[in-house]
Protein backbone atom coordinates (compact mmCIF):
# COMPACT_ATOMS: atom_id res chain seq x y z
CA UNK A 1 0.00 0.00 0.00
CA UNK A 2 1.09 3.55 -0.67
CA UNK A 3 2.82 5.24 2.16
CA UNK A 4 1.24 8.63 2.83
CA UNK A 5 4.52 9.98 4.17
CA UNK A 6 6.27 9.69 0.83
CA UNK A 7 6.60 13.11 -0.77
CA UNK A 8 7.07 11.95 -4.36
CA UNK A 9 3.49 10.86 -4.92
CA UNK A 10 2.31 14.45 -4.80
CA UNK A 11 1.12 14.27 -8.42
CA UNK A 12 -0.77 11.10 -7.63
CA UNK A 13 -2.43 12.68 -4.62
CA UNK A 14 -3.51 15.83 -6.43
CA UNK A 15 -4.78 13.84 -9.39
CA UNK A 16 -6.68 11.49 -7.08
CA UNK A 17 -8.20 14.42 -5.23
CA UNK A 18 -9.45 15.78 -8.51
CA UNK A 19 -10.69 12.44 -9.78
CA UNK A 20 -12.47 11.07 -6.72
CA UNK A 21 -15.32 13.62 -6.63
CA UNK A 22 -15.88 13.03 -10.33
CA UNK A 23 -15.98 9.26 -9.83
CA UNK A 24 -18.45 9.64 -6.98
CA UNK A 25 -20.61 11.97 -9.04
CA UNK A 26 -20.53 9.56 -11.96
CA UNK A 27 -21.54 6.72 -9.65
CA UNK A 28 -24.53 8.73 -8.43
CA UNK A 29 -25.41 9.60 -12.02
CA UNK A 30 -25.34 5.93 -13.02
CA UNK A 31 -27.38 5.07 -9.95
CA UNK A 32 -30.17 7.56 -10.50
CA UNK A 33 -30.07 7.61 -14.27
CA UNK A 34 -30.30 3.84 -14.63
CA UNK A 35 -33.96 4.02 -15.57
CA UNK A 36 -33.17 6.16 -18.58
CA UNK A 37 -29.69 5.26 -19.76
CA UNK A 38 -27.55 2.18 -19.25
CA UNK A 39 -26.56 1.42 -15.71
CA UNK A 40 -28.23 0.82 -12.41
CA UNK A 41 -27.54 -0.01 -8.81
CA UNK A 42 -25.01 -2.72 -9.46
CA UNK A 43 -22.73 -0.71 -11.69
CA UNK A 44 -23.13 2.40 -9.58
CA UNK A 45 -22.19 0.50 -6.44
CA UNK A 46 -19.02 -0.83 -8.01
CA UNK A 47 -18.01 2.61 -9.32
CA UNK A 48 -18.70 4.11 -5.91
CA UNK A 49 -16.49 1.47 -4.31
CA UNK A 50 -13.79 2.13 -6.91
CA UNK A 51 -13.53 5.72 -5.71
CA UNK A 52 -12.84 4.52 -2.18
CA UNK A 53 -10.36 1.95 -3.41
CA UNK A 54 -8.48 4.68 -5.29
CA UNK A 55 -8.52 6.77 -2.14
CA UNK A 56 -7.15 3.89 -0.08
CA UNK A 57 -4.42 3.20 -2.63
CA UNK A 58 -3.21 6.77 -2.79
CA UNK A 59 -3.66 7.95 0.78
CA UNK A 60 -3.04 4.69 2.61
CA UNK A 61 -5.27 2.23 4.39
CA UNK A 62 -5.27 4.10 7.68
CA UNK A 63 -6.76 7.26 6.18
CA UNK A 64 -9.31 5.32 4.19
CA UNK A 65 -10.34 3.44 7.31
CA UNK A 66 -10.88 6.72 9.09
CA UNK A 67 -13.14 7.91 6.26
CA UNK A 68 -15.34 4.81 6.21
CA UNK A 69 -15.54 3.15 9.59
CA UNK A 70 -15.95 -0.60 9.82
CA UNK A 71 -19.19 -0.47 11.70
CA UNK A 72 -20.80 1.80 9.12
CA UNK A 73 -19.80 -0.52 6.28
CA UNK A 74 -21.21 -3.57 8.02
CA UNK A 75 -24.45 -1.79 8.78
CA UNK A 76 -24.74 -0.56 5.19
CA UNK A 77 -24.23 -4.06 3.80
CA UNK A 78 -27.33 -5.25 5.54
CA UNK A 79 -29.24 -2.01 4.93
CA UNK A 80 -29.30 -2.55 1.18
CA UNK A 81 -30.69 -6.07 1.44
CA UNK A 82 -33.22 -4.93 4.04
CA UNK A 83 -34.29 -2.01 1.86
CA UNK A 84 -34.89 -4.36 -1.07
CA UNK A 85 -36.82 -6.88 1.00
CA UNK A 86 -38.60 -4.04 2.75
CA UNK A 87 -39.95 -2.78 -0.57
CA UNK A 88 -41.14 -6.31 -1.28
CA UNK A 89 -42.86 -6.56 2.07
CA UNK A 90 -44.36 -3.09 1.69
CA UNK A 91 -45.99 -4.11 -1.58
CA UNK A 92 -47.18 -7.27 0.12
CA UNK A 93 -48.76 -5.20 2.91
CA UNK A 94 -50.27 -2.81 0.38
CA UNK A 95 -52.24 -5.67 -1.07
CA UNK A 96 -50.12 -6.77 -4.02
CA UNK A 97 -47.68 -9.61 -4.58
CA UNK A 98 -44.16 -9.64 -3.15
CA UNK A 99 -42.08 -7.09 -5.11
CA UNK A 100 -45.09 -5.92 -7.09
CA UNK A 101 -44.46 -2.18 -7.00
CA UNK A 102 -47.65 -1.18 -8.76
CA UNK A 103 -49.53 -0.97 -5.47
CA UNK A 104 -46.98 1.32 -3.79
CA UNK A 105 -48.51 4.51 -5.15
CA UNK A 106 -51.89 5.65 -6.35
CA UNK A 107 -50.99 5.03 -9.97
CA UNK A 108 -49.33 1.94 -11.33
CA UNK A 109 -46.54 3.74 -13.20
CA UNK A 110 -45.74 5.93 -10.22
CA UNK A 111 -45.58 2.92 -7.95
CA UNK A 112 -43.24 1.17 -10.36
CA UNK A 113 -40.99 4.24 -10.47
CA UNK A 114 -40.84 4.41 -6.69
CA UNK A 115 -40.22 0.69 -6.31
CA UNK A 116 -37.48 0.56 -8.93
CA UNK A 117 -35.81 3.63 -7.45
CA UNK A 118 -35.79 2.11 -3.96
CA UNK A 119 -34.60 -1.35 -4.91
CA UNK A 120 -31.86 0.07 -7.14
CA UNK A 121 -30.79 2.16 -4.18
CA UNK A 122 -30.70 -0.99 -2.04
CA UNK A 123 -28.65 -2.81 -4.65
CA UNK A 124 -26.24 0.12 -4.92
CA UNK A 125 -25.74 0.40 -1.15
CA UNK A 126 -25.09 -3.30 -0.67
CA UNK A 127 -22.80 -3.68 -3.68
CA UNK A 128 -20.73 -0.61 -2.80
CA UNK A 129 -20.26 -1.57 0.84
CA UNK A 130 -19.54 -5.24 0.10
CA UNK A 131 -16.93 -4.28 -2.51
CA UNK A 132 -15.24 -1.90 -0.07
CA UNK A 133 -15.34 -4.52 2.68
CA UNK A 134 -13.81 -7.17 0.44
CA UNK A 135 -11.11 -4.79 -0.74
CA UNK A 136 -10.25 -3.72 2.80
CA UNK A 137 -10.14 -7.31 3.97
CA UNK A 138 -7.74 -8.28 1.20
CA UNK A 139 -5.60 -5.17 1.47
CA UNK A 140 -5.21 -5.30 5.25
CA UNK A 141 -4.33 -8.94 5.09
CA UNK A 142 -1.66 -8.20 2.50
CA UNK A 143 0.15 -5.67 4.69
CA UNK A 144 2.72 -7.54 6.67
CA UNK A 145 3.82 -5.41 9.61
Amino acid sequence: MANPAQPYNMVLRVAAKMLIPLILMFALYVQFHGEIGPGGGFQAGVIFAAAFILYALVFGMGTARAVVPDRLLRVLTGTGVLLYTGVGLASLLAGGNFLDYSVLAAEQVEGQHLGIFLIELGVGITVASVMIIIFFAFAERGVRP
Binding site: A50, Y84, S102
Partner: protein, 172 residues
Amino acid sequence: MILLGFLTVTVLAIIQLRDLFAVVMLFGIYSFLAAALFVTLDAVDVAFTEAVVGAGIASFLMLGTLALTVRREKTRRKRTLIPLLVVGVVGATLIYGTLDMPHFSDPSAPVHLHVAPHYLESTQAEIGIPNVVTAVLASYRGYDTLGEIIVIFTAGLGVLALLGYRKQREKP
Protein backbone atom coordinates in the same frame (compact mmCIF):
# COMPACT_ATOMS: atom_id res chain seq x y z
CA MET B 1 -15.36 -11.08 -35.64
CA ILE B 2 -12.12 -9.17 -35.06
CA LEU B 3 -13.04 -8.81 -31.40
CA LEU B 4 -13.66 -12.54 -31.14
CA GLY B 5 -10.22 -13.10 -32.67
CA PHE B 6 -8.66 -10.84 -30.06
CA LEU B 7 -10.54 -12.73 -27.35
CA THR B 8 -9.13 -16.02 -28.58
CA VAL B 9 -5.60 -14.66 -28.70
CA THR B 10 -5.96 -13.35 -25.15
CA VAL B 11 -7.20 -16.70 -23.90
CA LEU B 12 -4.32 -18.54 -25.56
CA ALA B 13 -1.88 -16.12 -23.98
CA ILE B 14 -3.51 -16.67 -20.59
CA ILE B 15 -3.14 -20.43 -20.95
CA GLN B 16 0.51 -20.13 -21.95
CA LEU B 17 1.68 -17.65 -19.34
CA ARG B 18 2.98 -18.78 -15.97
CA ASP B 19 3.36 -15.32 -14.48
CA LEU B 20 0.09 -14.77 -12.67
CA PHE B 21 0.46 -10.99 -12.59
CA ALA B 22 0.45 -10.90 -16.38
CA VAL B 23 -2.47 -13.32 -16.37
CA VAL B 24 -4.51 -10.95 -14.20
CA MET B 25 -3.74 -8.07 -16.54
CA LEU B 26 -4.77 -10.19 -19.52
CA PHE B 27 -8.01 -11.07 -17.77
CA GLY B 28 -8.67 -7.34 -17.50
CA ILE B 29 -8.02 -6.95 -21.22
CA TYR B 30 -10.28 -9.92 -21.86
CA SER B 31 -13.07 -8.23 -19.92
CA PHE B 32 -12.68 -5.01 -21.87
CA LEU B 33 -12.76 -6.91 -25.14
CA ALA B 34 -15.87 -8.74 -23.99
CA ALA B 35 -17.42 -5.39 -23.06
CA ALA B 36 -16.65 -4.04 -26.53
CA LEU B 37 -18.23 -7.15 -27.98
CA PHE B 38 -21.38 -6.58 -25.92
CA VAL B 39 -21.53 -2.98 -27.15
CA THR B 40 -21.45 -4.18 -30.75
CA LEU B 41 -24.34 -6.48 -29.83
CA ASP B 42 -26.24 -3.44 -28.47
CA ALA B 43 -26.16 -4.81 -24.94
CA VAL B 44 -24.88 -1.64 -23.31
CA ASP B 45 -26.00 -2.53 -19.80
CA VAL B 46 -24.17 -5.85 -19.87
CA ALA B 47 -21.10 -4.18 -21.38
CA PHE B 48 -21.14 -1.62 -18.60
CA THR B 49 -21.26 -4.32 -15.94
CA GLU B 50 -18.54 -6.32 -17.65
CA ALA B 51 -16.21 -3.34 -17.89
CA VAL B 52 -16.82 -2.20 -14.33
CA VAL B 53 -16.83 -5.56 -12.58
CA GLY B 54 -14.70 -7.74 -14.83
CA ALA B 55 -11.99 -5.29 -15.69
CA GLY B 56 -12.16 -3.06 -12.65
CA ILE B 57 -12.98 -4.76 -9.38
CA ALA B 58 -12.16 -8.35 -10.34
CA SER B 59 -8.61 -7.47 -11.44
CA PHE B 60 -8.17 -5.63 -8.22
CA LEU B 61 -9.31 -8.53 -6.08
CA MET B 62 -7.15 -10.93 -8.07
CA LEU B 63 -4.13 -8.69 -7.43
CA GLY B 64 -5.04 -8.65 -3.75
CA THR B 65 -5.14 -12.44 -3.80
CA LEU B 66 -1.76 -12.53 -5.52
CA ALA B 67 -0.34 -10.34 -2.78
CA LEU B 68 -1.55 -12.91 -0.25
CA THR B 69 -0.29 -15.93 -2.14
CA VAL B 70 2.47 -16.38 -4.72
CA ARG B 71 3.00 -14.80 -8.06
CA ARG B 72 4.12 -17.72 -10.14
CA GLU B 73 2.01 -20.65 -11.16
CA LYS B 74 3.32 -24.06 -10.17
CA THR B 75 4.42 -25.96 -13.22
CA ARG B 76 3.43 -29.55 -13.31
CA ARG B 77 5.66 -31.85 -15.25
CA LYS B 78 3.42 -34.90 -15.25
CA ARG B 79 1.07 -34.88 -18.21
CA THR B 80 -2.12 -36.84 -18.01
CA LEU B 81 -4.24 -37.90 -20.91
CA ILE B 82 -7.50 -38.36 -19.07
CA PRO B 83 -8.14 -34.64 -18.35
CA LEU B 84 -7.43 -33.83 -21.98
CA LEU B 85 -9.83 -36.53 -23.05
CA VAL B 86 -12.54 -35.27 -20.69
CA VAL B 87 -12.12 -31.70 -21.89
CA GLY B 88 -12.17 -32.81 -25.51
CA VAL B 89 -15.33 -34.88 -25.11
CA VAL B 90 -17.16 -32.17 -23.17
CA GLY B 91 -16.15 -29.55 -25.71
CA ALA B 92 -17.28 -31.70 -28.60
CA THR B 93 -20.61 -32.35 -26.87
CA LEU B 94 -21.15 -28.64 -26.33
CA ILE B 95 -20.38 -27.84 -29.95
CA TYR B 96 -22.72 -30.63 -31.00
CA GLY B 97 -25.38 -29.04 -28.80
CA THR B 98 -25.01 -25.68 -30.53
CA LEU B 99 -25.85 -27.23 -33.91
CA ASP B 100 -29.51 -27.38 -32.94
CA MET B 101 -29.63 -23.80 -31.73
CA PRO B 102 -31.45 -21.19 -33.81
CA HIS B 103 -29.27 -18.93 -35.89
CA PHE B 104 -27.94 -15.75 -34.36
CA SER B 105 -30.58 -12.97 -34.29
CA ASP B 106 -33.17 -15.28 -35.82
CA PRO B 107 -36.49 -13.51 -35.12
CA SER B 108 -38.35 -16.81 -34.77
CA ALA B 109 -36.01 -18.14 -32.06
CA PRO B 110 -37.91 -19.24 -28.95
CA VAL B 111 -36.20 -16.62 -26.80
CA HIS B 112 -37.69 -13.85 -28.95
CA LEU B 113 -41.17 -15.31 -28.89
CA HIS B 114 -41.75 -16.05 -25.21
CA VAL B 115 -41.83 -13.07 -22.82
CA ALA B 116 -39.53 -10.67 -24.68
CA PRO B 117 -42.25 -9.19 -26.94
CA HIS B 118 -44.43 -8.58 -23.90
CA TYR B 119 -41.61 -6.73 -22.12
CA LEU B 120 -40.79 -4.64 -25.17
CA GLU B 121 -44.38 -3.75 -25.94
CA SER B 122 -45.81 -3.09 -22.51
CA THR B 123 -42.89 -1.64 -20.55
CA GLN B 124 -43.94 1.90 -21.49
CA ALA B 125 -47.51 1.34 -20.37
CA GLU B 126 -46.83 -0.76 -17.27
CA ILE B 127 -43.60 0.72 -15.91
CA GLY B 128 -43.10 3.91 -17.87
CA ILE B 129 -39.30 4.03 -17.98
CA PRO B 130 -37.27 4.22 -21.18
CA ASN B 131 -34.64 1.60 -20.29
CA VAL B 132 -36.32 -1.77 -20.77
CA VAL B 133 -33.32 -3.60 -19.32
CA THR B 134 -33.77 -1.83 -16.01
CA ALA B 135 -37.50 -2.54 -16.12
CA VAL B 136 -36.88 -6.24 -16.64
CA LEU B 137 -34.15 -6.45 -14.02
CA ALA B 138 -35.82 -4.41 -11.34
CA SER B 139 -39.49 -5.07 -11.83
CA TYR B 140 -40.40 -8.05 -14.00
CA ARG B 141 -37.50 -10.08 -12.66
CA GLY B 142 -37.36 -8.53 -9.22
CA TYR B 143 -36.94 -11.89 -7.52
CA ASP B 144 -33.80 -12.66 -9.50
CA THR B 145 -32.24 -9.35 -8.62
CA LEU B 146 -33.11 -9.92 -4.97
CA GLY B 147 -31.31 -13.26 -5.20
CA GLU B 148 -28.32 -11.55 -6.79
CA ILE B 149 -28.01 -8.96 -4.09
CA ILE B 150 -28.26 -11.65 -1.41
CA VAL B 151 -25.47 -13.54 -3.15
CA ILE B 152 -23.31 -10.40 -2.99
CA PHE B 153 -24.20 -9.92 0.66
CA THR B 154 -23.23 -13.53 1.36
CA ALA B 155 -19.97 -13.06 -0.53
CA GLY B 156 -19.13 -10.13 1.71
CA LEU B 157 -19.96 -12.19 4.79
CA GLY B 158 -17.82 -15.06 3.52
CA VAL B 159 -14.79 -12.86 2.90
CA LEU B 160 -15.20 -11.29 6.33
CA ALA B 161 -15.43 -14.70 7.95
CA LEU B 162 -12.39 -16.07 6.09
CA LEU B 163 -10.02 -13.12 6.00
CA GLY B 164 -11.60 -11.09 8.74
CA TYR B 165 -10.01 -8.04 10.18
CA ARG B 166 -6.72 -8.61 11.87
CA LYS B 167 -7.07 -5.65 14.16
CA GLN B 168 -9.05 -7.40 16.86
CA ARG B 169 -6.71 -10.35 17.03
CA GLU B 170 -3.51 -8.36 16.90
CA LYS B 171 -4.20 -6.03 19.74
CA PRO B 172 -2.16 -7.32 22.66
